[in-house]
């Protein structure tokens, strides 16, 4: 499933321009500096794993990249957009899967995936393909989401993300709540997305499985990215 519009506002030609580029980024939640000077580079096509203890700032880092949280200090560019000035523009090309699933409980799986897909301009075939890739076609597709198990809801949220065909995937604990089959499914979907041109950043506690999946691992702690953050191949 190819991402929408191979997007390259930095002027084309730079095949090695990082998808995400953060320099000493400070981001606040209320009074608390959730990110206290994080620097990170992510190249196109990478599957980056963010690991670290709770409260380290992994979720905040993902939300900053999604353009949800403003950058208080430092520089941040995602997909060529400067997050300090143009946060809203980057959102169309980014897909975030957070702790909540962002689903409408009263609607069926097909209604949810359909809504989220269509608002991003996906066609009916793409929506159907997203659902089948996550094993949601057939009997499950007409069940209201509130009646599904946690794992099935997670898969539905992933199907919504898949249907949107984002260029940058930001996944916060995506394996949580999935059974073994679901996790295999998820890994397959991620790999498939990267093959189609997306870049993926995953924050996870599932170290073994995630490390096998990822092409690179960095550690986030105390609101900063420890060694392993920058230094991508130029």
């Amino acid at each position: 499933m190819t991402p929408t519009s191979q997007h390259d506002p930095s002027g084309g030609g730079q095949a090695t321009a990082p998808v995400v580029s953060l320099r000493e980024v400070v981001a606040v939640l209320g009074r608390f500096p959730a990110l206290a000077g994080a620097s990170l580079d992510v190249a196109a096509g990478e599957i980056l794993l963010l690991q670290g203890p709770n409260g380290a700032g992994k979720t905040t880092l993902l939300r900053v990249c999604a353009g949800l949280i403003p950058v208080a200090r430092g520089e941040a560019r995602v997909l060529g957009h400067d997050l300090r000035t143009d946060r809203a523009a980057v959102r169309r090309f980014v897909g975030l899967l957070g702790h909540h699933n962002g689903l409408y409980g009263d609607l069926s799986v097909r209604d949810n995936v359909g809504f989220w897909g269509r608002t991003a301009g996906a066609s009916d075939t793409e929506i159907a393909a997203a659902m089948s890739q996550l094993g949601l076609d057939g009997r499950l597709s007409t069940v209201p989401v509130s009646r599904l198990s946690a794992g099935q809801r997670r898969r539905t949220a992933l199907a919504c993300l898949l249907a949107r065909r984002s260029q940058l995937w930001l996944l916060d604990e995506p394996h949580a709540g999935l059974d073994a089959d679901g996790r295999d499914l998820l890994d397959g979907v991620i790999r498939q997305a990267v093959r189609s041109g997306a870049t993926v950043i995953v924050a996870s506690h599932e170290l073994e499985r995630a490390e096998a999946l990822a092409t690179r691992t960095v550690t986030v702690a105390g609101g900063v990215v420890l060694a392993g953050g920058s230094g991508m191949v130029a």
Partner: protein
């Protein structure tokens, strides 16, 4: 923008259709307020005359509940967040939710009119039907526009739910005044201590003009302002 609006509106109405919360909970609530008004007023000769006012009061209070409901749907599983990240056109979200809200309000109003006729023994003059429908539609649009706008402001985060009535009620006052006067003209009744005995239908149309202005002004304002208001930080 219109495409997004259509998607959002159908999504909202579909949710309502599946969950039936409005029909099962808000409608009875509105009907109950009509009954409680009758208890409080306790003057059979008056109720027919104040019926239009009570109708619009009941509608206004139900509006608050409906607005809270339409945004509770979004915030319960973080869908509002997802809407923000998804980069969905905020103006489209606004129009879509307003449309869905207006439809729900209209259903409510139709049933309330029946309630008013039944409980308060009002009679609608056949010649006044056009006025009633026009005024009702315009007032509903105004209420939906304003409700969605301020609802978006008050959505989500803690401590904001009680903000909604405080913000919303002053703003809907013109609609309350205008719609009630228009309905009085259509019903042929007169509330309060007016000197004139009856009301001509023609008296209602200036109010309809005001309702139209209100709806246009706040509809436009909402399309422009909803995006900035939706931003969390």
């Amino acid at each position: 923008m219109w495409r997004t609006a259509r998607l959002v509106a159908s999504k909202d109405l579909l949710i309502e259709w599946r969950s039936r919360q409005v029909t099962n909970q808000v409608l009875p609530f509105a009907g109950l307020t009509l009954v409680l008004f009758a208890f409080a007023l306790d003057r059979d000769d008056i109720t027919a005359r104040v019926a239009p006012g009570l109708f619009w009061l009941a509608t206004t209070f139900s509006l608050i509940v409906l607005v809270q409901r339409t945004f509770a749907v979004e915030t319960s599983d973080g869908a509002l967040d997802t809407l923000r990240v998804a980069g969905v056109d905020p103006a489209g979200i606004y129009l879509g939710k307003s449309l869905a809200l207006a439809v729900q309000l209209l259903v409510l109003e139709v049933l309330l009119v029946i309630g008013v006729v039944v409980f308060y023994a009002s009679n609608i003059r056949p010649a006044g039907i056009v006025l009633v429908v026009t005024a009702g539609l315009l007032a509903t649009c105004g209420l939906a526009f304003v409700g969605t706008l301020y609802g978006g402001l008050a959505a989500g985060a803690k401590g904001r739910e009680t903000l909604l009535p405080l913000l919303l009620l002053p703003v809907v006052a013109p609609v309350l005044i205008g719609a009630t006067r228009a309905f009085e003209a259509a019903f042929g009744t007169r509330g309060g201590n007016g000197i004139r005995a009856g009301v001509e239908i023609a008296d209602g149309w200036p109010w309809v003009g005001m309702l139209a202005v209100f709806a246009a002004v706040f509809g436009t304002a909402g399309v422009l302002a909803f995006g900035p208001l939706l931003e969390e930080a």
